[in-house]
């Protein structure tokens, strides 16, 4: 292990980390928005879109993220899509996780007690009002810890983007290692970096989960 070497290359490694974080945050944004959309489509039972989204979820959940990224990276350009690897990868990451967030949203909608819907129905509240003012405010806090866990997973999975030439943390580490052969130093440092971010984050999410479930009782 050579700490001096690490110091020499630290700015490149940090650059890679920056790409990792960016891809994760943007990917999560995509995952949440797309997931919410899919959950609403299934809730509203919109005819064609509903079947399509179920098929999409089955496809994405049962195939490797790596295969999906390869598909985006190699196939889309031949159909005129001119995005670079970083964007293809980030979008791929977001779309992959949207299937998981969609399930999380769906579960949280269903967890809102039936009595809430019934009370709102008898009061004459429209479906839109009920959903916006009664269901969503109760469903969203419940889903935050799950989304937090997916954010952490996505942070770790962002390393797969290196397979389609994106120079995030793993990719940068690989590139440096192939030049300097300082495999042990570099890969250990990289592993510790992921660990030192993901582990505290997961403790944070666990604490958040405890706080939210101990707090306000949902009828």
């Amino acid at each position: 292990m050579s700490l001096r070497y690490l110091w020499n290359v630290h700015s490149q490694l940090l650059g890679g980390l920056r790409i990792t974080v960016q891809a994760t945050l943007i990917g999560m944004g995509i995952a949440v928005l797309l997931g919410l959309l899919i959950a609403m489509i299934r809730l509203l039972r919109i005819p064609v879109l509903r079947q399509l989204s179920v098929g999409w979820i089955v496809l994405v959940r049962n195939t490797p993220l790596l295969a999906q990224l390869f598909f985006l990276f190699y196939v889309l350009p031949s159909y005129g899509v001119k995005l670079n690897a970083y964007w293809l990868g980030t979008i791929g990451l977001g779309c992959h996780y949207s299937c998981y967030t969609a399930e999380a949203f769906r579960g949280s909608f269903a967890a809102v007690a039936r009595g809430q819907w019934e009370a709102a129905t008898v009061l004459g509240l429209s479906w839109r009002t009920t959903f916006a003012k009664v269901v969503l405010p109760q469903a969203l806090p419940a889903v935050v810890p799950t989304l937090g866990n997916y954010l952490i997973s996505m942070f770790k999975d962002s390393s797969i983007l290196s397979a389609i030439t994106v120079l995030e943390l793993l990719g940068t580490t690989q590139a440096l290692a192939s030049q300097s052969f300082m495999y042990t130093t570099l890969f250990t440092a990289m592993g510790l970096t992921y660990l030192c971010i993901a582990y505290p984050a997961s403790i944070g999410v666990r604490r958040l989960e405890k706080r939210l479930s101990g707090g306000r009782r949902v009828a």
Partner: protein
Amino acid sequence: MIVEPTFNDAERLRIEGVSKSFGNHQVLDHVSLDLPAGRRMALIGPSGSGKTTVLRCVAMLEMIDAGAIYLGDRRISVDLTGRTARSARDLRSIRSKIGMVFQHFNLFPNMTAIDNVTLAPVKVLGIEKAHARDEGLQILASVGLAEKAHAYPSQLSGGQQQRVAIARALAMHPSLLLFDEVTSALDPELVGEVLEVVRKLAETSPLSMMIVTHEMRFAADISDHVVFMEAGRIVEEGTPEEVLRSSVNERTRKFLHRIQLH
């Protein structure tokens, strides 16, 4: 200013030959009831007798398989044929005439008491927010909860939550109020405060009421007409005196005896 609802035969509730099954299990078997405007009906019976289902069918929360329910001259029951034949505006105007108080309160936990009470008047009746608020505070005062207007349901006791639920239903100025075992989920010492509110309501307001309850004395005090149901059928009906105190029907007497033993 509290708007007084107007009553006439247009508010008479008629349930005619209603039947309903859940899968293979028949819950209601040709049930017919008549509730004139301004009257109070108590539904009693063992659990599974169908009394709550009757209420839920009137509230249009359940579909019926046969028969019909009328409010005035309008058919309000929902069955497979009538389901699509109603306009949203139609539905809204019927809904605003019927209010319901649930066994488990079903208050919206993410809103304060006053917000629970004013949400529907603002969104459905189109009442202006400030006006709805004033009225809402008055109604909360009438159920004894003026100082809890800004509390969240989680900060209120069961009895207080149920009183807010009553206020919420009243804020819509219904002509018919349905009560579904409103004290069954309460700790014994909180039951009284809720029954008191309903009693006061019965005395001061011209609302029609349909009350499913296990509280026999309460049923006797408050209702004009008592209906005893068992296994989806009406076994006996009449005045409180006839059904609760001097019934000659064996099944009614058996049931009342069992309840008394508590």
